[in-house]
Symmetry: D4
Subunit: 161 residues, 8 copies
Amino acid sequence: MDERDVTILKAIADLGTGSPEKLSDETDIPVSTIHYRLNNLREEGVIENDLYDIDLEKAGLGVTVLVEVLADYSDSYEEFGEKLLAVEGVTQAYFAMGETDFILVARLPDSDAVERLISDFEAIDGVERTNSTFVISSLRDTDNPLESYSLETLVEELADE
Amino acid sequence: MDERDVTILKAIADLGTGSPEKLSDETDIPVSTIHYRLNNLREEGVIENDLYDIDLEKAGLGVTVLVEVLADYSDSYEEFGEKLLAVEGVTQAYFAMGETDFILVARLPDSDAVERLISDFEAIDGVERTNSTFVISSLRDTDNPLESYSLETLVEELADE
Amino acid sequence: MDERDVTILKAIADLGTGSPEKLSDETDIPVSTIHYRLNNLREEGVIENDLYDIDLEKAGLGVTVLVEVLADYSDSYEEFGEKLLAVEGVTQAYFAMGETDFILVARLPDSDAVERLISDFEAIDGVERTNSTFVISSLRDTDNPLESYSLETLVEELADE
Amino acid sequence: MDERDVTILKAIADLGTGSPEKLSDETDIPVSTIHYRLNNLREEGVIENDLYDIDLEKAGLGVTVLVEVLADYSDSYEEFGEKLLAVEGVTQAYFAMGETDFILVARLPDSDAVERLISDFEAIDGVERTNSTFVISSLRDTDNPLESYSLETLVEELADE
Amino acid sequence: MDERDVTILKAIADLGTGSPEKLSDETDIPVSTIHYRLNNLREEGVIENDLYDIDLEKAGLGVTVLVEVLADYSDSYEEFGEKLLAVEGVTQAYFAMGETDFILVARLPDSDAVERLISDFEAIDGVERTNSTFVISSLRDTDNPLESYSLETLVEELADE
Amino acid sequence: MDERDVTILKAIADLGTGSPEKLSDETDIPVSTIHYRLNNLREEGVIENDLYDIDLEKAGLGVTVLVEVLADYSDSYEEFGEKLLAVEGVTQAYFAMGETDFILVARLPDSDAVERLISDFEAIDGVERTNSTFVISSLRDTDNPLESYSLETLVEELADE
Amino acid sequence: MDERDVTILKAIADLGTGSPEKLSDETDIPVSTIHYRLNNLREEGVIENDLYDIDLEKAGLGVTVLVEVLADYSDSYEEFGEKLLAVEGVTQAYFAMGETDFILVARLPDSDAVERLISDFEAIDGVERTNSTFVISSLRDTDNPLESYSLETLVEELADE
Amino acid sequence: MDERDVTILKAIADLGTGSPEKLSDETDIPVSTIHYRLNNLREEGVIENDLYDIDLEKAGLGVTVLVEVLADYSDSYEEFGEKLLAVEGVTQAYFAMGETDFILVARLPDSDAVERLISDFEAIDGVERTNSTFVISSLRDTDNPLESYSLETLVEELADE
């Protein structure tokens, strides 16, 4: 991948679309180039399907880290959470019951980036302690939770009769 | 949402496509109906964008639970992990360093489903202990990790020079 | 249940009586209405017996949460405990040996109320950390501890010879 | 309190009634005696109100112990829970999320009874570990959870519009 | 035991002697009375042997509690330890490796005294947290550690060749 | 100290007496020698007072170790405890509430003896896990718990009025 | 580094020598080549000094992992430890007091090797649980502990009078 | 060992050389004396091989302690780490993921030095808590990590093809 590929993938993520025209508007890359690049990314397996789901390993974000954050904050947890979400790489953030205040998932390019991630968290005012865990292997990372259910269960649980 | 809506959403998740033709092949629902239904789901905000990302809250999977699993298994962790992934609702599964063997994220329709989830895990041979945590509020649940990075960082980290 | 039912049930709890006359004095609801309402609540199983024990599930307080509170307080533990007891829904509160200062049980209308409960605790000056646990199922919740003993044991332990 | 007092209090707990006639049927103690005894128990403060709520301290069950139980059981948690509930003194039992399987509250006549309680639990097949905590002081032990709410909140949460 | 018995036992502990003359000097109780009282205490088993070892259960100090103390102190641990030792009932105090700063053993007259003990500790400036454990049963509480060794081991370990 | 000194100190501990005649009967060491040795041990500070309390540091048992034992035993805790007490050096043993089954204190001649102690425990059938802590400094190790109380408190708590 | 460089470095580690003649005997690489290679490795900083200390980062073993091992073994801890030491990459292994049986340090070529390391440990009979921690940064990794002392302290502590 | 031996060993550690000439320059001890002393140290096994690896037990640093440090520091972790490294005896220091900030290994002359070590850490501004563990036995303490790998693995992992 070169800078243009990355720019296109980023635009897909931000705009929530795979339309070459919209992506061209956003990135100033000609529509035909976008077509060509998307085809290549699909062939290399970086783009996995029609929904433009990304193979994180192939895209270069192969390291996953879980981070528990204990914090002492005076504003609401939503406002404090915003500060945590501003750290690059944080893809999931939960405010949970139990001993830990926040539980985060981050995707990083390599294990050297872990040091940057931890520093970023500890620089946030109110963060008392972080406890991070290195993921040895991601067994599943569903882009769409419906995948993990059978149709029968989904109909029973989600459909109004 | 009725059964047809759920069937279409499930097909999108399984096939990784939003193409009404492909969805019609899979579901035996006429293409025109699919068009019509998708438009409605978009208007209600269940479908969020061109990439068919789902608003889990609106789709009826509003409860998130984190589950740590301690296991005693003789096969490889990949094989054992398959058993955990077979439990409905498990959308993420990590094999991690640290005291816990597996860390899972599950999306459920309501808090009553928690009991079913825990029972399913404890019925798996080799699961010694589960430790689950109720998520009070999901602050972020990115469908695409690239969203959480600035373009500058992504280019620097992911693009070949 | 409508507002009148709830008002009557609340008066029973506060006054510690099931006498329609006393309840009428407290609530300004006519005695005959109270009679009629109590009968209905009994038939629906909300009121379980002559002692006006409540079926919490049926009354709409079906969610139970345990909360451990670690606190840093300068007044006595009784005074500090008063602040914890002022949080709505706290039905039991123990000052215990061991690592945690206070252990509380709360009954809530639904899982959304958990967020309110935790916020209420964290807003109390001196609360350093809360650790809450979601009860999947209440196996017993005795209104009267003597129930859990055999008559033989009770006589032996409680009766003066 | 003598054996008759205890017998009457136990019958109240089991039958869920304060009616002297029903209590006399159950206990073979004459109705007039029951009247007389109940009056005395009320005057001593053992019986607290019209609903026959008991002052546990005065009734002689002044020691409270919390017990966490980790178990390894092959039957359902409800069936296993039954065995825990059979231990005398267990007044609350919760099957909860988190590391511990069951969390119990027990009321005991004195601190010597703790040893009996722990032995009873450890004699149950499948109980792997118990972790008990001595309650120094019970700050609240509501017989009726509605007490802990304001009428406004109750109406809002429990009443149908 | 009456006040005189207790006074004599206390003098034995403080002076480290069983000599009636010295005890009389300290307590102003006549020597003959001391002789008489000591004989009685021996017969009742409160005094166990020629070395005036005390049977704590019989003397009325039958409750044992272990207390871990986490502290934040600026003086040396010896100086801080002095404050902990000033709490009545603390019979052993260790400054140890590991997570806890101090581990204490206390002997108390009854379980109500636990509340006083914990309050005393928490009133000490610098005590951050106490974690106390109720001893169900003391299996051994040697007055003289040499008892727990065989003569062979003692000679080998303690005697100079 | 030579073998004779150690033999005498051991006899004092076992017999619970300081009487040279009784010690001579037990040890076959002439009474006059015992007199002479006891005087020397007193002068060196090994024997601290009339009650023959021992200065453990000077006697050569200067290392203290705390050991938590988690066990899985089918006999009663008293019977199982006997096995733990048979390990040389164990001077205190408590069966306690909380996560750990037994908490022991041991006095050892030096830090090399720690390895022997742990091996002895782990060789006991039913011991699942030991968790030992090295005591850096013993701040107090009272031979007589009454020392730690004021006379006033003792009279109030222990004396019958 | 190519295969010859690695072979020479390995021989230095195994033989405990930097003598080109001995290294040549062991590796069948000509003495002159060894001279040449050692010079290059020194210039690149892989070999740090006359004592052939290795810069692990430059040598390609830049990842450090700490592993706690809980084990259930029937042989002696030394024999069991041998099995742990047989895992490639384990450079330090301690049998320690406290909750964990063994604490190990491993040096690995990259973060992918962590998966292999954990699998190797979990394949050992008797290993019940491993808890591994990823080292973000090694602040010091002394080849010679004397470095960390001042000469004054060393003389005082290690020199005979 | 006398002061000269210790001085020579210290110079070896500091200079990273075994060359008698360089050691003589540093220590002002004549070259011939250094030759003679080094031979003796080799014969006694203090110096283990041509690389001047030290047998710590024989050199008098036989006690190993692991220390976890939790800290609250405003400067970077490298700067804070420098303060920890200034404590004598610290031979390894890791900044790690997980709950603990720093994990250190120290080598000490005897168990009395533990007290000095802990005091030194607790005197450092920003150190909130230390948790130290006494190593009963060092199973391995490799001077050169390459030793722990087979040649095959090393070539595969470290050599460029």
